[in-house]
């Protein structure tokens, strides 16, 4: 066992963080400092630790755990996402007083599981890490005061998750039976055509189903709008962003099998096209903002597929970069949603009316987020789509690239309706509390909007990291 403790410092740090949270959740409610006071610093330090640990490489624990550029890239993304969601959730109005430490403990466990997921290079390890990341989310989603919708969302997530996990395990058994190994490094050199290995191909499709569930790709997307709508805004901000990072890193690792032209690759492309089309068309009809964002993430899952089917390291790099862009854009939009809904209600589009007067910084940041989600320059979303399109063109899936471009046109309508409601409509609904206009709300929104714009204008440093990550998987 070649265990090198310096390689897993971020994971160990998060484990310690979770254990401290657990101790606090066991204790008295009067324990000081309260969890919201110290945890943002702890999570920020975690982000810092993940950055410092960038650049390490190694294979450990009997070759099932691989620390490379790809895993470190996603660990930084996950640590950043955890940091932002923790600050975001610090003023959560619909969380019962006695459950705060437990709530953060669950989020921390999920982040830890996702970090381990991004380093796992063996199918059973992937499965275990995925379960660690999912189970805690099952418990977190229903925690929203006494809301019936949240309970419904929790039950839906558990049931769909259980089915997806069962499918994935069943597929895993097929892969093991026909390819005789579960190590990705060995599976890479096996044949994955349907003619040679029908059983392995069917198994891999089923196993990918488990990842598609996390990513909310088309046939596995049913939970997504319902869960976002049912869970509290702050929980939705976590569920919408971080688990997708884990799914994308695993898909990127598995995508090294998928040469263009294989049946599975075509399946991925078809599902991606269906997912973006369905997600965008369904989002057109939504009035609840979180439901709209739910369908938007179904569409974004489809966009990610464009990077995975090209079978090049540039494609993987584009997918990794788009994952990061997706994370930051969604965190930004959810931040604004959480600050506008100060009482924790679900926002309708009409609730945004006149936001530019009541909270100009929030309104501007929302506009930046909406433009980024559409993919208009000069935002990170534009650069992400640009890299996806350029990496996938001329690798046999040009129709998918064209579908992506057409879908971006459809998506403009509903994303810009966020903008329209915030800036051009003044008729505000009565009796809703005013949005949070404090320095805390404005600073967070402004920083995230600045990140989205800056990474859109100067994408090279981040994209170089993504390229390194892609090369580490597929030289």
């Amino acid at each position: 066992m070649n265990f090198d403790i310096t390689l897993v410092v971020p994971e160990l740090y998060f484990l310690c963080l979770v254990l401290v949270l657990m101790i606090q959740s066991l204790g008295d409610r009067e324990w000081k400092p309260v969890v919201e006071k110290w945890l943002p610093f702890g999570a920020g330090l975690g982000f810092f630790v993940a950055i410092v640990n960038y650049g390490h490489e190694g294979l450990m624990l009997w070759d099932v755990y691989r620390v490379d550029m790809m895993s470190q890239f996603f660990k930084i993304a996950i640590a950043f996402g955890f940091f932002v969601t923790v600050i975001n959730a610090a003023r959560q109005p619909t969380l019962a007083e006695g459950k705060r430490s437990d709530y953060y403990m669950m989020l921390g466990f999920s982040a830890l599981g996702l970090m381990m997921l991004s380093s796992a290079v063996e199918l059973i390890t992937i499965y275990l890490a995925l379960e660690l990341a999912s189970y805690s989310l099952y418990a977190v989603i229903p925690l929203r005061a006494k809301n019936k919708g949240a309970a419904e969302a929790g039950v839906k997530y558990i049931l769909f998750g259980a089915v997806a996990t069962a499918l994935a395990l069943y597929g895993l058994s097929y892969i093991m039976a026909s390819q005789h190994t579960t190590y990705i490094a060995e599976l890479m050199h096996k044949s994955w055509t349907f003619a040679d290995q029908p059983m392995a191909v069917v198994g891999l499709c089923l196993f990918l189903g488990g990842m598609f569930f996390k990513l909310a790709l088309f046939p596995f997307h049913f939970w997504c709008p319902d869960v976002y709508q049912g869970a509290s805004n702050e929980t939705a901000a976590f569920v919408a962003t971080l688990p997708k990072m884990g799914a994308i890193v695993i898909l990127a690792r598995l995508a090294v099998f998928l040469k263009p032209g294989l049946e599975i690759t075509t399946l991925l492309a078809v599902l991606g096209a269906l997912s973006m089309t369905y997600g965008n068309l369904a989002a057109l009809a939504q009035t609840d903002i979180k439901r709209l964002l739910g369908f938007s993430s179904v569409a974004h899952a489809g966009y990610i597929m464009v990077g995975l089917v090209s079978g090049t390291s540039e494609g993987l790099a584009a997918a990794a970069f788009y994952a990061l862009a997706y994370l930051v854009m969604n965190l930004l939009v959810f931040w604004v949603v959480c600050r506008v809904a100060v009482d924790g209600r679900n926002l309708k589009l009409n609730d945004l009316n006149g936001l530019y007067k009541k909270a100009p910084v929030l309104a501007f940041s929302l506009a930046a987020g909406a433009f980024a989600l559409v993919g208009l320059p000069p935002t990170m979303g534009f650069m992400g789509k640009f890299f996806l399109i350029t990496s996938a063109w001329d690798h046999g899936y040009n129709w998918l690239v064209i579908t992506l471009v057409l879908n971006s046109a459809i998506a403009i309508y509903y994303y810009l309706s966020l903008f329209r409601h915030a800036f051009t409509e003044d008729k505000t609904p009565d009796l809703t509390p005013a949005p949070d206009n404090s320095w805390f709300a404005s600073a967070g929104a402004g920083l995230l909007a600045g990140a989205v714009l800056l990474a859109g204008m100067v994408p090279a440093p981040l994209f170089n990291l993504a390229v390194e990550a892609g090369r580490s998987l597929m030289p």
Binding site: M1, L19, M22, S25, L26, G27
Partner: protein, 125 residues
Amino acid sequence: MVFDWLHFSIMLFLLAGLLFACGPLILAGLLAPRAKGGDTGMPYECGMVPYGSSWSRWGVSYYVYALIFLAFDVDVLYLFPVATAYADAEGWVSFVKVFIFLFFLILSIVYFWAKGVFTWPRRIR
């Protein structure tokens, strides 16, 4: 393609499988005594005669206990292979691994304990 003995035997096998599955059902339909009423509608046909409806309400604590029992039962199941193989293991690594496993089990017990799952509340709040 010629229809040879292999195909014939496959057909025979399929037929035998079909008969094996459907035969008992058909036999039961033909041979079983027809009885209605009496105890045949009861949830348990042996043992004590139950009283009241089967839709009565139970304290949720039963389910919590049952689920926790199930979880730990399955966990302890993993210790049996460890116990058989432990004598042949060398070095500290196996001890550390078992300890990590048990450490998380202990943590979960402590968590349940502190959350008051092991008390039997008269009323669920």
